[in-house]
């Protein structure tokens, strides 16, 4: 897997989503898109501009939104339903469970503004429970891409796979991790971004970039060789790859912009503890609500809630220390 030089380019996940939808719409007449008064922000409007007859703004009515998407799927369409992460998994859990997941309908829930990095809007909008909620519904698959390249490719992938998906995007521009041409994202797989033997760091979403940066520091300052895995597919999880990493490096640090309960860290701990238990340390929001911060203060916000390179570094060092004893 070829990686780009992370520092060079930034990409907007939402635009990548919008562009992917337009491409899908061009080649597949059965793609429809429904929005809930956030279509400009989420860039699904791009699809709407191109295909107005297949684009529907339902207004601020999310339960209605996802149920209408279910109706489209019943009539043979592949429906993308999008709004902010804060308003789908919780507010529409029942509709997602009963109307979409139970009959395993072809509905793709793609949400943006997940995690603390929503920033100024505060805790009401900082969705940090969605991975946990969505993961527990049978038939649902849960994805959290790390950059705009993976968003684009993942959206195009899932359009061809029947059944429900929950895809979580972040509001801020992401550093570009992946090369456009030479990267692959299969559902149920994870990508090893960098090999290492002393410890494994598994991340998802925006935290993958922070893991890569941390790995550099670990190498330079502490001569620690960290294996970095992008687990964009949280359900199904790439269990083999995760278990093997635990076996080979002895310990795993998980990093996610999510509550440490029920998300990526839990998924990793579940599979490891059942086959090859190893030491696992979860980095994430420690079961608390977030708060507002201006965009210029995002780093302070993340630092306060333990979502920085420094925090990952601390987790790695304390873990290695513990294992030595």
């Amino acid at each position: 897997m070829k990686l780009t030089d992370c520092e060079l380019r930034k990409g907007d996940m939402r635009s990548a989503y919008g562009n992917a939808l337009v491409e899908l719409g061009t080649i597949n007449n059965d793609i429809v898109c429904v929005g809930a008064d956030t279509t400009d922000s989420i860039k699904t409007k791009k699809f709407g501009d191109q295909f107005p007859e297949r684009f529907f703004n339902i207004g601020i009515a999310e339960a209605n939104l996802v149920s209408i998407a279910a109706g489209f799927a019943i009539a043979g369409k592949t429906a993308f339903a999008s709004t902010y992460a804060a308003f789908l998994p919780g507010r529409c859990l029942d509709q997602i469970r009963n109307a979409i997941c139970y009959p395993s309908l072809d509905v793709k829930l793609v949400v943006s503004h997940a995690g603390l990095t929503v920033g100024p809007d505060g805790a009401s909008h900082q969705q940090i429970e969605d991975l946990s909620i969505m993961r527990s519904i049978p038939n649902m698959r849960v994805l959290a891409p790390a950059d705009s390249v993976s968003v684009f490719k993942i959206i195009k992938n899932i359009a061809d796979i029947q059944g429900p998906f929950y895809v979580r995007l972040a509001r801020p521009s992401s550093e570009i991790i992946y090369d456009d041409n030479d990267s692959e994202f299969q559902i149920g797989k994870a990508n090893i971004l960098q090999d290492g033997s002393d410890i494994t760091i598994i991340g998802c979403g925006l935290m993958v970039y922070k893991a890569i940066k941390t790995a550099k520091i670990l190498k330079e300052k502490f001569h620690i060789s960290a294996r970095i895995i992008d687990s964009y597919s949280i359900k199904p999880l790439d269990s083999n790859l995760v278990i093997k990493a635990g076996q080979e490096t002895g310990a795993i640090i998980t990093v996610e912009e999510h509550n440490i309960i029920g998300g990526l860290g839990s998924a990793v701990a579940e599979v490891c503890s059942e086959s090859h238990p190893c030491f696992i340390k979860r980095v994430g929001v420690r079961d608390t609500f977030g708060e507002s911060a201006r965009d210029s203060e995002l780093n302070i916000l993340l630092e306060h809630y333990g979502l920085t390179e420094k925090e990952i570094e601390r987790a790695v060092l304390s873990t290695i220390d513990k294992l030595k004893k």
């Binding site: 149920s67 109706g71 019943i74 109307a99």
Partner: protein, 541 residues
């Protein structure tokens, strides 16, 4: 589907539903029964669908949003042929395809669902939104298929219903026809006590829907509303179907206790007898004072007639002249109550097309005017027009041998209890045993249609013919000699009810459930206890 055949199918839906619920020991009889006519009309009269090809792309969609009416929904699908009726006994059992609430059928869920189910119900308030998605998809594909969605009145407590109510008019979805099962009862009690819904009509009008309000137990009103809905452009339609929860079984009707309770298995034969015991009163408009037929039709419509009996007499077959097909055609637009045309004419064979085109729902011809060949011709014409076919026999006539080979196609047999020709004649007592013998013979031969008693039926004779097996009662003078037609009709129904209750008690004895039955049905039996002679027994309980 022919009117009387449809009525029988709806009975079959109720019977299959209640048998399934009793066997399961739980389920929702109330909601299944309030929607039985709605589902029956949809599946046997309205929907474009194919039970042998459930995913046919040309089908109309039916979304059963009020998922707790599952037993009635499953029974409808079974009667329509989507799966074998015997599976109803597996309702709600482990390993059954008939889950407590309906599950959308797919390869993935084939062990938990049956073909034909489009939508997983159970969580309330979602189905109307889902229908919007289907309707929008049909518009994208330029398909003219409709989406019919059944919603409950308790269900409309859910806010999402009103989100959807706002959305469908935005997209001008005239391909959505919602039907509100307005039975006024939800789990905890009456809807207006739990969460008032009225003025429900005004609400939907304010949300910019085309609103049609009907009696949801009258199939002709449901069909009429559906026809009107399909003519409306650029607006969704909601049919507010005023219904009675538990309709069909008197002690369950309008009783919140029966929202989600199963009857005892031993009560089932009694419940079936009650369901099959429903009678239809058919006032004959040639009776009474000479006034115009339009007036009389309007009067009996207001008075609660089930069907309208039209005595067609040509002065040749009978010594009297009333009216012919042209008059029926003129009368047709006045009402949507089914027209029961009884052709007392010498040559029905020559005129059958005229009566088909006049808008009759039931056409009955006299056995005396036919032979096998002629009847066969008439039968084909009448049936292919979707009209119920009947055969009538005079007091001295027995049902001819050749008629027995058409029992599957005959919806009604009129047994004349006077010599036809004039109204106001006296009932011939011997007819009772004729009906009862005929009924027995027909049952053995698997006849599913009705027996109709015609001539001299009034409060003093109706119980006898009911007991003998007649379920359609032509009432002439008995209705029109009373200044209040509604009272006259109710009196006839009351009389047959008493007979029914007596028969049910007899059956309760046979099944050793008399005490239990009287307890369950106490509030129904108290008003007729005197006539049944069970006052002391009830007082002791």
């Amino acid at each position: 589907m022919r009117y009387l055949d449809l009525k029988r199918k709806i009975q079959e839906i109720r019977i299959n539903a209640i048998e399934g619920i009793a066997e399961a020991g739980s389920g929702h009889p109330g909601a299944s029964f309030s929607a039985a006519e709605i589902m029956g009309v949809l599946y046997f009269r309205e929907l474009r669908h194919d039970p042998s090809n459930p995913t046919w792309t040309g089908r109309d969609y039916f979304i059963n949003s009020k998922g707790h009416s599952a037993p009635g929904y499953y029974a409808t699908l079974a009667v329509a042929g989507y799966f074998p009726k015997y599976e109803m006994k597996d309702l709600r059992k482990f390993g059954s395809r008939l889950q407590g609430h309906p599950v959308r059928y797919s390869k993935l869920l084939e062990h938990h669902s049956v073909p034909g189910v489009e939508y997983s119900g159970g969580s309330e308030g979602i189905g109307l939104s889902v229908s919007i998605g289907i309707a929008l998809a049909n518009n994208i594909d330029n398909k003219d298929n409709n989406v019919y969605v059944l919603i409950g009145d308790g269900e409309t407590n859910e806010g999402q219903v009103w989100e959807a109510a706002m959305t469908a008019p935005k997209f001008k979805l005239d391909n959505i026809i919602a039907i509100l099962d307005r039975n006024k009862i939800q789990q905890d009690g009456f809807t207006e006590d739990i969460m008032p819904l009225d003025p429900v009509r005004d609400k939907w009008v304010a949300f910019n829907w085309n609103v049609i309000e009907i009696n949801g137990h009258k199939v002709e009103q449901i069909m009429d509303a559906l026809n009107k809905a399909s003519e409306v452009k650029d607006k969704p339609t909601i049919i507010i179907a005023n219904t009675v929860k538990g309709n069909g079984i008197k002690h369950m009707a309008n009783n919140p206790q029966w929202h989600g309770r199963a009857p005892h298995n031993l009560h089932i034969p009694l419940l079936i007898e009650e369901l099959e015991g429903e009678i239809l009163i058919a006032p004959s408009i040639i009776a009474g004072e000479k006034e115009n037929y339009e007036e009389k039709i309007k009067k009996v419509e207001r008075g609660g007639a089930d069907i309208i009996h039209l005595d067609v007499m040509d002065g040749i077959f009978v010594p009297n002249v009333t009216f012919l097909a042209d008059t029926i055609k003129k009368l047709r637009p006045i009402t949507n109550i089914p027209f029961d045309a009884h052709l007392m004419i010498e040559k029905p064979y020559d005129h059958i097309e005229e009566y088909i085109n006049a808008g009759c729902d039931i056409i009955t011809i006299h056995a005396e005017t036919c032979d096998n060949e002629k009847f066969c011709y008439i039968r084909e014409k009448v049936m292919s027009a979707g009209i119920s076919l009947g055969i009538a026999i005079n007091p001295q006539t027995e049902l001819p041998e050749w008629a027995y080979s058409y029992l599957n196609d005959i919806d009604v047999i009129i047994v004349m209890s006077v010599n036809p020709g004039f109204s106001g004649q006296k009932f011939i007592p011997d007819i009772t045993s004729k009906i009862s013998n005929l009924n027995r013979t027909l049952k053995v031969k698997g006849y599913k249609g009705y027996i109709e008693a015609d001539g001299g039926i009034d409060a003093s004779t109706v119980q006898r013919v009911y007991d003998a097996g007649a379920r359609i009662m032509v009432a002439g003078s008995a209705v029109f000699s009373n200044s209040d037609i509604n009272t006259a009709i109710l009196q006839l129904k009351h009389k047959t009810n008493v007979t029914l209750e007596r028969n049910l008690l007899k059956k309760a004895d046979e099944n050793s459930v008399r005490k239990d039955w009287i307890v369950a049905r106490k509030h129904i039996l108290i008003p007729v206890a005197n006539e049944l002679g069970i006052e002391d027994e009830i007082n002791r309980l």
